[in-house]
């Protein structure tokens, strides 16, 4: 482990002070593309986006344009969207179905298994001397967790299973509850004028909700019958916040087995139908997840580095810009009426126009831009809430914050970022060994 001469020392875990330059410095940003986005397992889509052979879906791994496709044999593949000739993009659409990808510049054509199949003038202009075998598409490693597709450029990276570690123990209660799994729809795409890290660290910040989102909490109480949390419920909640390998998971205890798992889209009119659905699917969920985990709910969460609240992605676009993608993941077995409610609720609460989320962006922008000025940079960001109160818990994975509301999330997210940025390769990046008992039949693959 690199310990003595760490290049990046941006977060002090004893005092919670954070160096603001990480949001604005172009050199740090460039290094992040290599050391964070070049190494990590990144969420890039969902199997349901490419259901048939030869389907493709255009996505990104950080800044890198990527073609996620299902090849002729039904395997998921992810390629850099770059022609090996001069570098043109070979796919220019968001979606499609094609056995091969023809470059619109000079016509080099690649199969969806990555091979360079056709080069105009191969015999004549190149005199048969082009080594086509060395000029296949650049391919990423792909794996899936319960239908969600991840990819990494780093062939030295650990398995996806180890990368998620025991975060999966709790992620399962949201994404791996039923035999038939989930489907993803979307994404809504938009550009936010802020550093990607401010969006990620905020989406697992339980502290900002009663202030940032108060206007929506008020109207939601009025029209959707969802009561505002009391000061006690906010600051003395029994719910937990867990941290594993840089992933952050808010864990909520369900009061009843048929309690609705999410609130966005739930109305007084459809509440009974949701409860009926959760009652009806309980035996299946218990078989898959065991009895302890079926009593838990996943709240705000993020997957290192850039996944937040389910399949929502913060793609870096320069230090001061982020392309945000909002997908909705739904259980396939859910009745259409309830899927519709969650789909509308998800976009209307958390999309580009979300009545919650539209109040977030200016905060993230303000935090980002505080690093731009000489005076702003002189003062560290204060993330001291709850310093010294993190614990291990015999029943739950990872580090457990002393309280439901703390800044352990931010401190540990930036510590993870430091670990990636200071590492020469994956050997230097610590991983927590998996230690939880995965009661039930659910596996990484679903």
């Amino acid at each position: 482990m690199v310990a003595v001469d760490r290049k990046h020392q941006i977060i002090d875990l004893e005092t919670g002070q954070l160096d603001r330059r990480i949001f604005v410095d172009p050199d740090i940003y460039a290094e992040e593309q290599e050391k964070v986005f070049g190494r990590a397992w990144l969420m890039i889509g969902h199997e349901s986006l490419v259901p048939n052979t030869n389907d493709f879906f255009h996505t990104y791994m950080g800044e890198e344009p990527v073609i996620l496709c299902r090849d002729g044999r039904g395997n998921l593949r992810a390629y850099l969207n770059m022609c090996r000739h001069r570098g043109n993009r070979i796919v220019r659409t968001d979606v499609g179905n094609s056995r091969n990808f023809a470059c619109a510049y000079h016509g080099w054509t690649f199969s969806n298994e990555g091979a360079l199949e056709y080069v105009p003038g191969d015999e004549e202009a190149y005199y048969g001397a082009l080594d086509r075998d060395c000029l296949g598409l650049v391919e990423a490693r792909v794996d899936t967790y319960a239908g969600i597709v991840f990819a990494t450029w780093d062939h030295g990276a650990p398995s996806l299973d180890d990368y998620l570690g025991d975060a999966r123990w709790l992620l399962d209660v949201s994404f791996n509850r039923l035999d038939n799994g989930t489907e993803a729809i979307g994404p809504i795409k938009w550009i936010e004028p802020l550093n990607w890290k401010t969006a990620v660290d905020n989406c697992s910040d339980n502290y900002h909700v009663p202030t940032t989102h108060l206007s929506t909490i008020i109207v939601q109480g009025r029209h959707r019958g969802i009561p505002r949390l009391t000061h006690e419920q906010q600051f003395q909640s029994e719910n937990k916040h867990l941290f594993v390998n840089g992933h952050s998971l808010t864990m909520r205890f369900l009061e009843r087995a048929d309690q609705v798992r999410q609130t966005h889209g739930v109305t007084p009119e459809n509440l009974a139908a949701f409860e009926e659905y959760y009652r009806a699917t309980l035996p299946e969920a218990e078989r898959r997840l065991g009895s302890l985990r079926t009593r838990l709910n996943l709240g705000n969460h993020s997957l290192f580095p850039n996944g937040v609240l389910g399949l929502r992605l913060a793609h870096p676009r320069g230090p001061l810009e982020t392309e945000f993608w909002h997908f909705v993941v739904l259980e396939k077995d859910m009745p259409d009426e309830l899927k519709t409610a969650l789909r509308r609720g998800s976009a209307n609460y958390n999309g580009v126009n979300g009545i919650f989320e539209q109040d977030d962006m200016d905060n993230w922008r303000g935090v980002t831009e505080s690093g731009l000025t000489r005076m702003g940079r002189k003062y560290t960001q204060d993330l001291s809430m709850g310093v010294g109160h993190d614990r291990r818990h015999p029943d739950y994975p990872g580090v457990v914050a002393g309280r439901y509301t703390s800044e352990s999330n931010q401190r540990l997210f930036y510590r993870r970022w430091e670990q990636f940025m200071n590492a020469d390769n994956w050997e230097d990046i610590p991983l927590e060994p998996k230690a939880m008992d995965y009661e039930g039949t659910a596996t990484l693959r679903g």
Partner: protein
Amino acid sequence: MELWHELMEFYIREAWLLDERRFREWLDLFTEDVFYFMPRRLNVHRHETDRELTPVGDLAIFEDDKTYLTMRVERLETGMAWGEDPPSRTRHIVGNLVVDPQPDGEVQAKTAFLLYRSHHETEENLFSGYREDLLRPVDGSWQIARRTIVLDSNVILAKNLSVFF
């Protein structure tokens, strides 16, 4: 032609209500059963333009009923809807009206729009698109029973869509 003039005036009045931030009065232009919808717009090949607009049932950008629209307006009145407080400065320019009266007395009306938004100190957005409305005659005037808004963009070049279309 008379209907065209009447509806053009309706849309001009609507634009002023929005730009003068008279959102309660704007809300009254919609029926109780309104569906206010903005599909996503995909980047697809010319021979696949039937996939360009996502259908109802796929993830949409807006998919509001009257309650969602009311929540959006009431939020602003709390004084704590920070994304719009301080408020955006908007200018809705509406034109290219085409009217298509239906046998049952309702009217399909299509308009093109440019929506300029300035926020805080120097932020600017320009949204371009069209709207397809289903207008219902109510008490000698018109109400919007269905509105589909189509933006001319793929990745939306704005931090949020906290303004109305």
